[in-house]
Symmetry: C2
Subunit: 209 residues, 2 copies
């Protein structure tokens, strides 16, 4: 059965981090659902029965697949929960009590919780325990006393038996390795290798990078 990922989004989300993750997972056969955590907050309003448009950090306007309905968004429905960065978007996501609850549910439910850039703020606001993480340097000071902070492209933390896997990453420049790591965890290394080839990374790019 196809794996499923729930990717959260809000006004101010970093559009490259969102799009690279969504697109790369879809290429691997993962069913992606994007959910707008805000409802009706966009100046563009909603489109029929669709969720409100999101205005991303550099002005790209994305229509999410749905709104966040916490009762339909739990770890029984999806294999991975993804929280992109973009400072304003990540603040909105990490300050949402619904998102904080979901992060804990996925982590306690032994699923994948993935955060990139300022998205790692949600590990702190959800109260996830001390473990290895990374993030964009802009929020590093908020994390160093609580976590084993590492300055590397992608950190996979799954040392607590029975708990979930926390995957964290640094910014748009690490969004591809972040997405490939999620594919590897959800679908295996062979699938990650398979989808990488037609994306035409130059031969000089180390992989994984």
């Amino acid at each position: 059965m196809a794996k499923k990922a729930l990717i959260l989004i809000a006004d101010g989300t970093e559009e490259m981090e969102f799009t690279i993750t969504y697109d790369t997972l879809v290429r691997a056969g993962v069913e992606c659902t994007s959910a707008n955590v805000q409802s009706g907050g966009s100046p563009y309003g909603s489109v029929g029965t669709s969720p409100a448009l999101v205005v991303c950090s550099r002005g790209v306007k994305i229509l999410p697949d749905t709104t966040l309905q916490p009762l339909q968004a739990g770890p029984d429905k999806y294999d991975a929960l993804v929280i992109p960065g973009g400072l304003k978007g990540a603040e909105a996501l990490s300050q949402s009590t619904e998102v904080q609850t979901l992060v804990r549910q996925y982590y306690e439910g032994n699923k994948i919780v993935a955060m990139i850039c300022a998205g790692t703020l949600a590990a702190k606001t959800a109260g996830l325990g001390h473990q290895p993480v990374t993030s964009h340097p802009v929020i590093q000071n908020e994390l160093t006393t609580l976590y084993d902070y590492r300055e590397v492209a992608v950190v996979v933390s799954n040392e607590v038996p029975g708990k979930g896997t926390l995957v964290t990453s640094r910014g748009p420049g690490t969004a591809f390795p972040f997405a490939f790591k999620l594919v590897e965890l959800l679908c295996g290394k062979a699938k990650s290798d398979e989808i990488r080839e037609p994306m035409m990374f130059p031969p000089g790019i180390p992989y994984p990078y």
Copy 2:
């Protein structure tokens, strides 16, 4: 005065190539305008007076900034014309007579014409002359007899005095170096270096790559 770029989009456009280019140019201070080349063709219809939503190649739905109005889209209005890939989107863009005319106008007007992935089809349909190009391998056979085809990440062709600069690239995996090259051509190498740093590319990534 700020540089300006017109980025075309249609149903089936590769959302990573579109978003990485748009976002990276905005980070450099380039005023980006995305224009939907199709009008009313989306199953989602239009949003008020806004253009129709675009459904990209892996399902991300983007609302462009405007529709393509050829009389307002010429090389007197923008410094660069960008044509992203995604096979279905690139076919729609390259088969549009309005787009073909714009490509010739920008090229004849000594501006930047940039094409990535299957977007390079538009060089052929617009009738641009023999010069160095690259593309996604999926359309390589359509270009090899007409052009000096090169299998490298980014090709900059500006050998004809008084004509424009044709920048071509290969796919999502080369979208960052493609976007940085456009920043370099529009705003200079120092600006490209400046915006790259906070994007957090790992130290092992060669630059330019």
